[in-house]
């Protein structure tokens, strides 16, 4: 394993190079911000006709991670679909792949700001989720004694001239990078993230290998 291991509220977690989070105790894989169907949604709204391959690409990478880790549970941490209608409009081939991935494991769709409604694809739909000492929700909230796992911000950080999606980790929470192919990023130096994360927060870069750096270099 080439992930970055850390403890959050006494639980052992691992930030994987793909941008997924692994919880060994529960054999649980968590990904955030898949934004499936983004190109379809943009076209529907009269926007640009983007290359319509991102859903397949995202699902292929998710399938790869599921094959590696063989999770018993998968938590998709919100903004799983670019909007509720995008979930309905999935290409049949993509829908089949997703169904195959879901088969034989517990699959939980946490609602996001893009996809508040339940989705008719099987699995459980939840606003948020509490497991042992951890809370899974889409957007970071108040520190409440649980370890909090969220997405939403698509954090990125740049070192040696290269910008990559990253996990942000402090003593009470972790923010996941976006897993979807067509997702941008918010610099971890932005004021929003600066306000949320504690003073000794780490950024863990995704890529071929994970790379941990202080979120606020030189601070």
């Amino acid at each position: 394993m080439t992930g970055h291991s850390f403890r959050l509220n006494q639980e052992n977690l691992e930030a994987l190079p793909s941008g997924a989070l692994w919880w060994e105790t529960r054999q649980l894989l968590c990904v955030s911000d898949l934004h499936l169907g983004k190109s379809e949604r943009m076209a529907r709204r009269g926007g640009a006709l983007l290359p319509p391959y991102e859903t397949r690409d995202t699902l292929d990478r998710l399938a790869g991670e599921i094959n590696n880790m063989r999770p018993k549970e998968v938590v998709c941490l919100g903004d799983n679909f670019d909007d509720d209608a995008a979930g309905e409009a999935l290409h049949p081939q993509d829908r089949d792949l997703l169904t195959r991935l879901m088969a034989g494991r517990l699959w939980i769709w946490v609602a996001g700001n893009h996809d508040p409604g339940p989705i008719d694809l099987g699995g459980e739909n939840r606003a948020e989720l509490h497991l042992l000492g951890l809370t899974f929700r889409h957007i970071a909230g108040k520190v409440d004694g649980f370890g909090e796992i969220t997405g939403h911000y698509h954090p990125k950080i740049r070192i040696s001239g290269e910008s990559r999606p990253c996990f942000l980790i402090d003593s009470s929470r972790v923010i996941l990078p976006a897993f979807g192919t067509y997702t941008g990023g918010l610099s971890s130096h932005s004021s929003d993230l600066d306000d949320i994360m504690g003073p000794r927060a780490l950024a863990v870069l995704t890529g071929n290998k994970v790379l941990a750096v202080p979120m606020r270099p030189g601070a």
Binding site: G47, P51, Y53, S160, G185, L211, A212, P214
Partner: protein, 799 residues
């Protein structure tokens, strides 16, 4: 020769003018369909263009749009409006003249569509916008004359291609309209005529005026071996400024302009008022400088290409070019900015920034004196611009594909467009043109019952109009002083902003500022008391030397009899090179290998320009890595490329084998940042990526994603897509500049000279100090990142 009508004759006489011969010649040809007037700056070009219109309108001032004037600059349109006011008022002509640019009020723009003025002054983008309205036939059907000003500037960019497509559209709407193109001195008038209106453009050459008085600055201190700033010349240049009335100091890049401005200030013992003007400064700042110049309050402006065109400042009597001009035509046009009066010689001084540039300046000076201008030949009209044109045509109403195709082929840049390419563009506009047909329900264009193409959703027109234009700037962020109403200082490239850490200092607008942080997409800074910025420059593209000028330089170097015009220290330098190695020759390719310390060096004198050398460096080092030569890094300038590694190159020729290089290019291109940048620009123009969407910026960056992702996705799933084809074509002649590598190989035809030099050679030496060394990528990059991460963790006590 035509005569001015009595009324106009009297007006000329009253002002103490007599009409220039070319003004009368143009009048004589006023019935011709298309005329190209080539005249030097200050030749009353613009008035020549308008005379036929003013005379016609003075006889028959019927309502409606009569003349459309298009210039590349908004400021120029506004300036011409003020200038035309004089004859219109003094001759009491019943003519309405208005401008229409991005700065025009919404209410006025609305009125111009229902009740257009006689003469409308606009820009290519504003014209494209007007043509995208459903009422465009009504606006333009009575149009008589079209004047394209500064056509030489438009000709060099996609703005010109877009404009020519629009003129083709206008020819359909107003078949009787005539065209006049107004150009500064150019190298190939026939090509320009073919661009303006193929087959029927008559060329009028005005008297080119007296030769310019041009010299190379002598400085007490010799120019340094390398570097681009020219800082050694500041004292001497300051003296020239103080002797002249008003001086324009041209610098090649924005960053260098900042540095040079600082260097000048340090020598400005008389406290002369000097301004700074470049494209990265906030508009407020630039307008203030321009205003001060118009009011005659400045003795000099340090500027970049931002002042290449524009309003006449009659009081400029000296132009100084710091750094090699890189391109003779542009130099001539810059020189023309001084003494903006016809028949008075312009005065200009060239300031080489280093020893190589001394030679380049000498060659450029001779080229100017011989009126031997350069210019890269123009390829066919780009397809991304065509895609935008098709979408905007759809905004104006349903169209027939064959009629549109024929109309487009009447535009100069698109006269050899194939039906296949047109259809590919049309498919791209309609469905995205993907191998996976995903958008059947959401097509952008549909064939209607009449067999015409129309927008599926008419509301899309609004979004498309917001994306008009072919200028795709690198993404920039505003720089402001920290505080609630922080003063805007200018902008920097997003990549540069991302490289800053709080506490870093850099130069902008002539002052050193401290980076505080990024808030709401604004770079917040505070004034820094330090004199020396920690990070000297923000990035900017460097122009490559033109092919023709580099050929001149090669011929100059290979012929010692020409060296007499050089200072003795330069002659000694070249003589030493001939002794230790060889001199580069135009029909051969000189390469040298030597060792220095524990590094093996390879120097190739390609004379193909900076961009092509950069490409060659990346391909060659990759090939060397495969061959086990363990390259470590390389550096380039306009003349040569220097590569160093652990193993000496024994046999150079196989590395430079054309077929191998072409194959290397293929694999290398796939993941290249230049390709991604080229893709972004093409995809934005073609409407695949939207710019300027209201509210987009405010919604935070996590909503938008980098176009690099689209590029990677297309390459993976749809490698033959139109956008990738366009990107390749663009990159070949743009930043990748592989065409010039091909030219280099064709010229030398395998005649490669390999000199095993005993040590570092005189010509290669300056390259060692050149900025911008490129490490060989791949595993090295991963290692660098890991090392930096380790250091950061250690600093933070987190090992």
């Amino acid at each position: 020769m035509a005569q001015l009508p009595q009324k106009f004759q009297d007006w000329f006489e009253k002002r103490g003018w007599s009409p220039h011969p070319h003004q009368l010649a143009l009048l004589e040809r006023s019935k011709d369909q298309s005329t190209l007037l080539i005249a030097p700056t200050g030749g009353g070009k613009t008035l020549s263009g308008f005379l036929p219109s003013l005379i016609e309108l003075s006889n028959d001032p019927k309502a409606g749009l009569h003349t459309l004037y298009i210039s590349p600059l908004k400021a120029l349109a506004a300036d011409i409006r003020r200038n035309l006011a004089t004859p219109v008022e003094e001759l009491a002509l019943p003519i309405r003249v208005e401008d229409r640019t991005g700065d025009t009020r919404q209410s006025q723009r609305q009125r111009q569509r229902t009740d257009p003025p006689h003469i409308l002054l606009t820009t290519p983008e504003s014209l494209a916008l007007l043509l995208s309205y459903e009422d465009s036939p009504h606006i333009f059907n009575g149009l008589r004359r079209i004047i394209v000003d500064e056509i030489h500037a438009l000709h060099e960019s996609k703005r010109g291609d877009q404009l020519m497509l629009c003129l083709s559209r206008l020819a359909t709407l107003a078949p009787d309209s005539t065209r006049i193109g107004l150009s500064a001195t150019i190298e190939d008038p026939a090509a320009m005529a073919d661009f303006l209106s193929p087959g029927n453009t008559h060329i009028l050459n005005a008297d080119p005026g007296p030769d310019p008085d041009i010299s190379i600055l002598e400085t007490a201190e010799r120019p340094p071996w390398t570097g681009m700033t020219g800082a050694h010349s500041a004292k001497a240049v300051m003296e020239k400024i103080s002797q002249a009335k008003t001086t324009l100091v041209f610098i090649n890049t924005r960053a260098q302009a900042e540095l040079y401005f600082q260097a000048l200030w340090a020598e400005n013992t008389e406290d002369l008022p000097i301004g700074l003007h470049h494209g990265s400064l906030a508009r407020e700042v630039r307008e203030r400088v321009e205003g001060a110049m118009v009011a005659g309050q400045l003795r000099a402006i340090v500027c970049t290409g931002s002042l290449d065109l524009g309003i006449d400042w009659g009081n400029v009597d000296l132009v100084i070019q710091v750094g090699a001009p890189k391109n003779v035509k542009r130099l001539v046009q810059r020189i023309g900015r001084s003494n903006h009066r016809y028949n008075a010689p312009s005065r200009a001084i060239l300031v080489p920034a280093n020893r190589f540039e001394l030679i380049e300046c000498r060659c450029a000076l001779e080229a100017v004196q011989e009126r031997d201008l350069d210019g890269e030949p123009r390829g066919d009209g780009p397809l991304d611009v065509l895609c935008q044109h098709i979408l905007l045509t759809a905004c104006a109403g349903p169209f027939d594909d064959s009629s549109l195709f024929n109309e487009i082929r009447r535009a100069g840049p698109y006269q050899s467009l194939t039906r296949q390419d047109f259809d590919d563009c049309l498919q791209f506009c309609a469905t995205g043109g993907y191998a996976l047909q995903a958008y059947d329900r959401w097509q952008r264009l549909l064939l209607n019952a009449d067999g015409k193409w129309q927008l599926r959703d008419p509301r899309a027109a609004k979004r498309l109009r917001m994306n008009i234009g072919t200028i795709v700037d690198v993404e920039t962020l505003a720089v402001r002083l920290r505080g609630r109403f922080g003063t805007p200082l200018g902008e920097v490239e997003e990549n540069f902003a991302a490289s800053l850490s709080p506490g870093d200092t850099f130069l902008i607008g002539g002052e050193v500022v401290r980076y505080e942080g990024l808030r709401d997409m604004v770079v917040e800074v505070s004034r820094s008391p330090t004199k020396e910025p920690k990070i000297a420059v923000f990035s900017g593209t460097k122009l490559a030397m033109s092919t023709k000028l580099s050929h001149r330089v090669q011929r100059f170097l290979s012929d010692p009899t020409q060296w007499k015009s050089l200072p003795s220290y330069s002659q000694a330098w070249l003589t030493m090179q001939a002794k230790i190695s060889r001199l580069p020759q135009i029909d051969r390719l000189l390469t040298e290998t030597f060792t220095r310390g524990d590094r093996a060096f390879l120097c190739i004198y390609g004379f193909a320009g900076r961009n092509a050398h950069q490409t060659l460096g990346l391909i060659l080092t990759k090939r060397m890595e495969e061959a086990g030569l363990e390259p470590i890094g390389f550096v380039t300038n306009d003349y040569a490329i220097l590569i160093w590694g652990l193993q000496p190159v024994k046999n150079v020729a196989p590395l430079l084998d054309p077929q191998g290089l072409r194959e290397g290019l293929e694999t290398w291109l796939s993941s290249n940042a230049l390709m991604k940048r080229t893709f972004r620009s093409a995809a934005t123009i073609a409407g695949l990526i939207e710019k300027n969407l209201p509210g987009q910026r405010k919604s935070g960056r996590q909503a938008t994603f980098s176009s690099d992702i689209l590029y990677d996705t297309l390459r993976k799933y749809d490698p033959n897509h139109l956008m990738l084809r366009i990107t390749r074509i663009e990159a070949m002649r743009g930043l990748v500049d592989f065409d010039r590598i091909e030219d280099m190989l064709t010229r030398s035809q395998g005649r490669i000279d390999h000199v095993l030099a005993p040590h570092l050679t005189p010509l290669a030496a300056p390259l060692l100090f050149e900025m911008g060394k490129v490490p060989v990528k791949g595993r090295a990059q991963e290692r660098l990142m890991a090392e930096e991460a380790r250091q950061m963790m250690a600093e933070a006590g987190l090992t």
